[in-house]
C-alpha cells in the first residue's frame, strides 16, 4: 500500500528530471549548431575593429550586430567577386537542375515504361556510376572538358554531372508507382510515347521532381572542387570559390567582409531549406540509403 502511495511523487520527479534533461539537451543543440551562424551573421554587419572588440573580452555584442551597417554588403556588391559568383552559381545551378530534370525523367520513363532488349544492361551501366566519387575523377574529367574546349565556361561547370545516377534513382520509384492502366488507356486512345510521357506520367510525379530540383540545386550551389579546377577567369567565378578566395592565407583577411560573402552564399539555401524541409530531408536521406 505504502508503495502505491509514494509512487506518485516519485513519478512526478522523474518526469521533471526528464523534462529538464530534454530542455538542457535542446538548448545544448541550439548553442552548438546555431551560435556559429549567429556570430557569422552578426559579424557580417561589423567593421574589423568591432568584430574583434566584441571578442576581447568576449561579450554579448559578439552575437548581436550593435551599430550594424550594410557597409560590407555594399562593398561586396560594388566590386566583389562574390556578386559575380552569386549570379554565376545561380546560372550553373539552373543549367544543372534543368538538365537533370530532362535527362532523369526521360531515362526513368524509358526504364519504367518501354520494354526493350538490354534494359537491365542499361540500368546496370547507370547504377555502376552511383558510388563513383566525383572528387576522385576531376583530373580526367578536366582533360575531357578541356579537350571539348569547354574549360572556363559555365556550361563546362555543369555538363559533366548532368547524367546523374543519383537523380535517376531519386525519381525512378515515383515513375514505377504510377499504375500501368493509366498509360494503357492513353495508348488505346492512340497516344505515342512522348504524349504519354508528357501528359500522363509527368503530371503524376511532381513531388519527386520537386525533390530532385532542390537536391540538385543544393549540390550544384555548394560544389567547390570542380568549379575551382575548371574555371580560371574572374568573370566565370562561382560563389563558393569567391568565398574561399577571400580567406587568403598570409595576410589578415577582412572578417566582416568575408562573413558577408559567406552569409550571402548561404542564406538562399537556408531559406529554401526552411520552407521545403520535407523534400530536402527525403532527398538527402535517399542519398544516404541509396
Amino acid at each position: 500500500m505504502s508503495v502505491a502511495l509514494d509512487h506518485e511523487p516519485k513519478r512526478a520527479s522523474i518526469n521533471f528530471a526528464k523534462s529538464a534533461g530534454w530542455v538542457t539537451g535542446v538548448a545544448a543543440i541550439a548553442v552548438a549548431f546555431l551560435a556559429p551562424y549567429i556570430w557569422m551573421v552578426a559579424s557580417s554587419f561589423k567593421s574589423q575593429f568591432e568584430v574583434f572588440s566584441a571578442l576581447n573580452p568576449l561579450n554579448w555584442r559578439a552575437f548581436v550586430p550593435v551599430d550594424g551597417s550594410w557597409a560590407n554588403y555594399a562593398q561586396l556588391f560594388e566590386n566583389g567577386k562574390v556578386a559575380t559568383g552569386l549570379i554565376n552559381s545561380f546560372l550553373v545551378a539552373c543549367i544543372q537542375v534543368g538538365g537533370a530534370l530532362v535527362l532523369c525523367t526521360t531515362t526513368a520513363y524509358a526504364l519504367s515504361r518501354i520494354v526493350f532488349p538490354g534494359r537491365r544492361i542499361v540500368f546496370g551501366i547507370i547504377l555502376a556510376t552511383f558510388m563513383l566519387p566525383t572528387e576522385a575523377i576531376v583530373v580526367p574529367v578536366y582533360r575531357v572538358i578541356s579537350g571539348l574546349g569547354l574549360q572556363d565556361t559555365l556550361i563546362g561547370i555543369a555538363l559533366p554531372w548532368l547524367a546523374s545516377a543519383f537523380g535517376l534513382l531519386l525519381v525512378l520509384p515515383a515513375f514505377e508507382e504510377i499504375p500501368r492502366e493509366l498509360d494503357e488507356a492513353a495508348r488505346i486512345d492512340g497516344a505515342g510515347h512522348f504524349r504519354i510521357f508528357w501528359n500522363v506520367i509527368l503530371p503524376n510525379v511532381k513531388t519527386a521532381l520537386a525533390t530532385l530540383t532542390l537536391i540538385i540545386f543544393l549540390f550544384s550551389w555548394n560544389s567547390f572542387l570542380w568549379p575551382l579546377v575548371v574555371t580560371s577567369s574572374p568573370d566565370k567565378i562561382v560563389v563558393q570559390v569567391a568565398v574561399a578566395q577571400s580567406v587568403s592565407p598570409g595576410e589578415l583577411p577582412n572578417w566582416g567582409l568575408t562573413f558577408a560573402g559567406a552569409t550571402a552564399a548561404t542564406i538562399p539555401l537556408i531559406v529554401l531549406f526552411l520552407f521545403l524541409q520535407k523534400y530536402f530531408v527525403q532527398g538527402l536521406a535517399t542519398s544516404g540509403m541509396k
Binding site: 576581447n56 518501354i114 526493350f116 563513383l132 566519387p133 576522385a136 583530373v139 579546377v229 580567406v247 544516404g288
Partner: protein
C-alpha cells in the same frame, strides 16, 4: 540497390512482333540517348583517360608530349613520403571522423526521436550545417578557431588558451575532424532517425510490459534492429570523408608539416599546382579503388534486404 520493375505494358517479353519491337527500341533510344551520351562521354570515358594517364608522365599544357612510364607513378604513390603521409593522414581522418560521427549521430537521433515539444526545431538546427557548403563551414570555423577567434575568446573567459587549433601539429587534424563531424552529423542523425522510426512500436511496448528497462530495450531491441542502418551510414560517411577537400584547402593548406594533407587535396595539388597529372591520376586511381571496395562491401551488407 534499387531493382527494376518489369514494365509489362505491351505483353509478355519475347512475344513482341517485330515492328512493335523495332518501335520500342526506337523509342527507348530516343528517350535514353541524351543521358547515356553524357554518362558515357563524361564519366566512363574519363575513367579510361584516368587509367591511361596514370601510366604516363606529361604536363597539362602540353598533353601530346606524354612519355610512357609504366607502373612508375603507382610505385611513387607507395614510396613518395608526402603521398604516404597523405594516405596515412586520410586514414586517421576517416577513422577519427567515424568514431565521433556515428555515436553522436545515434545519440542525437535517439534523443530527437522523443515525442516532445520543439523536436522538429531541434532537428532543423542539427541539419543546417548539412545544407551549408563545405566552403562556408570551413571559412566560418577558420575564423572561429583562429588565435583571436570566438573559440579562444570563450576559452579566455575561463582563463585558458589561446590554443593554435589550426597551426599546432598536435591539434590541427583533430580540429578538422571535429569541424567535419559538426557539418555531417545532421545527415547521420536523419538516417538513424529513419531507422528508428521503422522499428515496430509494438516490439518496444511488449518488452516494456515484460519489465525490460530502458537500457535493456535499447541494447536488445534498438541496437540490433539498427545494424543495417548503421552499416549504410558507416559506408556513406566513409565515402564522404574520403572525399574531404575544402577543410584542408581553406583551413590549413595541408599544414602544419603535412599533418592535414588529406588525399584529395594532395591529388589536387599534384595535378594543378605541381602540374604532374600523370602522378595525380595514379593517386586518383588508388582513391577510386578504395572507394569502389567500400561500395562493394555496401552491396554485400545490403544484399539480404534486396532479395525479397
Amino acid at each position: 540497390m534499387a531493382h527494376l520493375a518489369e514494365p509489362r505494358a505491351a505483353g509478355v517479353r519475347g512475344q513482341l512482333r517485330t515492328p512493335a519491337r523495332r518501335r520500342a527500341i526506337l523509342a527507348a533510344t530516343a528517350f535514353l540517348a541524351p543521358f547515356m551520351i553524357i554518362l558515357v562521354g563524361l564519366q566512363y570515358f574519363p575513367l579510361g583517360v584516368l587509367v591511361r594517364d596514370s601510366f604516363y608522365r606529361f604536363s597539362l599544357f602540353n598533353p601530346e608530349k606524354a612519355r610512357f612510364v609504366g607502373f612508375k607513378n603507382y610505385q611513387k604513390v607507395f614510396s613518395d613520403p608526402d603521398t604516404l603521409q597523405s594516405l596515412f593522414v586520410s586514414v586517421l581522418f576517416i577513422v577519427g571522423f567515424l568514431i565521433l560521427v556515428l555515436p553522436i549521430g545515434f545519440v542525437l537521433a535517439v534523443f530527437l526521436n522523443q515525442a516532445r515539444r520543439g523536436r522538429s526545431l531541434a532537428r532543423v538546427f542539427v541539419f543546417l550545417p548539412v545544407v551549408t557548403s563545405q566552403v562556408v563551414v570551413a571559412t566560418l570555423w577558420t575564423f572561429m578557431l583562429s588565435r583571436d577567434g570566438l573559440a579562444n575568446a570563450v576559452l579566455g573567459t575561463v582563463n585558458t588558451g589561446p590554443i593554435s587549433f589550426l597551426s599546432d601539429s598536435r591539434y590541427a587534424l583533430p580540429t578538422l575532424v571535429v569541424v567535419t563531424v559538426w557539418q555531417q552529423v545532421g545527415l547521420c542523425t536523419i538516417i538513424f532517425l529513419g531507422g528508428l522510426q521503422a522499428i515496430p512500436r509494438e516490439l518496444v511496448e511488449a518488452a516494456s510490459l515484460d519489465g525490460a528497462s530502458a537500457a535493456r530495450r535499447m541494447w536488445s531491441i534498438t541496437v540490433p534492429l539498427l545494424a543495417r542502418t548503421t552499416g549504410v551510414t558507416t559506408i556513406v560517411m566513409t565515402v564522404f570523408s574520403l572525399q574531404a577537400f575544402a577543410p584542408a584547402y581553406i583551413m590549413t593548406g595541408g599544414a602544419p608539416d603535412g599533418t592535414t594533407n588529406l588525399i584529395v587535396y594532395h591529388m589536387y595539388k599534384t595535378a594543378f599546382l605541381i602540374k604532374d597529372p600523370g602522378f595525380a591520376s595514379a593517386i586518383s586511381a588508388v582513391v577510386l579503388i578504395v572507394a569502389l571496395a567500400i561500395s562493394l562491401s555496401q552491396s554485400r551488407i545490403l544484399r539480404p534486404k534486396w532479395s525479397y
